[in-house]
């Protein structure tokens, strides 16, 4: 990659890293280490495909697509290795207390984490202020279908929050 593309990548990283990391945090129920790895994977893909970005959508929508697909791929990987050793659980508990995620944010991510994986991603895009048409473009499904989905997810999320 040439110097211009490197500069472009670094500017994209700077601008969208918080958005990607926050989505990954919501997806991983506030697990900072896992979310960091996941967001790095997203930016590896951004780097890999930056040359082919045609500008047909905004950078934001493009990065959403990569983030959503990377998170969905993680579900398949996790289902393959769905056993967790006691050591890794202990490590996770110790690390969780170290990271920067505040308690308030953590409970927010935990609430979102009670939704199923796909619903988490959809509602996080809504929280980010994405329009239904953009979400429909990211997912590749009809906008009407997105609308129905979001209505259902909001109802479910309300139930979760009412129980807390």
């Amino acid at each position: 990659m040439n110097k211009n593309t490197t500069l472009q990548f670094e500017s994209i990283h700077k601008q969208y890293f918080p958005m990607v990391l926050q989505m990954c945090l919501g997806f991983t129920q506030g697990d900072y280490d896992k979310a960091s790895d996941l967001s790095q994977e997203v930016f590896i893909k951004v780097w890999k495909h930056l040359d082919t970005f045609k500008g047909l959508s905004s950078y934001k929508t493009w990065i959403y697509r990569i983030t959503v697909n990377t998170c969905l791929q993680l579900i398949r990987k996790e289902k393959k290795n769905n056993t967790m050793s006691i050591d890794s659980v202990h490590h996770q508990l110790v690390e969780e207390s170290k990271n920067d995620v505040t308690e308030a944010s953590n409970s927010l991510y935990k609430a979102i984490g009670q939704l199923n994986e796909l619903d988490r991603l959809v509602i996080m895009m809504v929280l980010e202020g994405q329009h239904y048409d953009d979400i429909s473009e990211v997912l590749g499904i009809e906008a009407t279908n997105v609308r129905v989905k979001i209505h259902r997810i909001k109802k479910r999320l309300k139930k979760i929050l009412d129980h807390e």
Binding site: E10, H13, K14, Q15, F17, P18, M19, L21, Q22, L25, Q40, E41, F43, I44, K45, W47, K48, H49, T52, F53, W62, R65, I66, V68, N69, T70, L72, Q73, I75, R76, K79, K80, D100, V101, T102, A104, S105, L108, N116, L118, M124, L127, E128, G129, E137, V138, L139, G140, I141, T144, N145, V148, K149, R152, K154, K155, L157, K158, L161
Partner: protein, 199 residues
């Protein structure tokens, strides 16, 4: 509900303020990019390298060490080498399909490409590999009569029996591969269903 949701939106925006990109983040990403390049090269070309090396070793054996002369043996050698070549071609096709799974596509396209890839892998493990191994086995035993001319009978018998053990290991390997790909197909199809369902 809207009250709840606007509170959630505020909490979401507030929480994002603590997350910032730093030079260390970018440097870590660059490090991962370098590691990823090596890994993905091995992932795509590892199997092809192993199969090609096996092909070269077997070809060299029949060409330089034990050039078989009987027609039956030559057919046998042909089946062994031909099977390997076909398998390599399928692996190359598999790489092409794997490279179509782009994260830059929309989720539905990415899921559809994943399903096509896993179904193709399932076909390789469940149909192509057993046929190739059967041809390879037939080829192996077709060479045996000519080997009996140059080697002790017990040596050839031992050779043939040891091949049976390899066949059992291969059978279990194939079964494992088919199960893995079937699981992948099942999970990806479920994800697609989830994506498409409206309520």
């Amino acid at each position: 509900m809207s009250n709840h949701f606007s509170e959630l939106e505020d909490a979401w925006n507030q929480s994002k303020k603590s997350l910032q990109s730093s030079p260390t983040n970018i440097e870590n990403t660059y490090e991962k990019i370098r590691a990823h390049k090596k890994e993905s090269f091995l992932f795509y070309y590892g199997t092809i390298a192993i199969l090609s090396t096996t092909l070269i070793v077997i070809f060299s054996f029949f060409y330089f060490v034990a050039p078989v002369e009987q027609v039956l043996s030559r057919i046998g050698a042909g089946l062994m080498l031909g099977g390997l070549i076909v398998r390599i071609l399928f692996e190359i096709n598999s790489i092409k399909k794997a490279k179509k799974i782009h994260s830059i596509n929309n989720s539905l396209e990415a899921v559809n490409n994943s399903i096509a890839f896993y179904q193709f892998r399932k076909k390789i493990h469940g149909v192509v590999a057993p046929i190739i191994i059967s041809l390879y086995t037939i080829g192996f035993y077709l060479i045996t009569p000519e080997f009996l001319i140059y080697m002790d009978t017990w040596n050839v018998v031992l050779f043939d029996i040891s091949y049976l053990f390899i066949a059992v290991i291969l059978f279990f390997q194939i079964r494992k591969g088919v199960r893995k790909e079937m699981n992948n197909v099942r999970e990806t199809v479920l994800l697609k269903k989830e994506l498409l369902e409206g309520n």
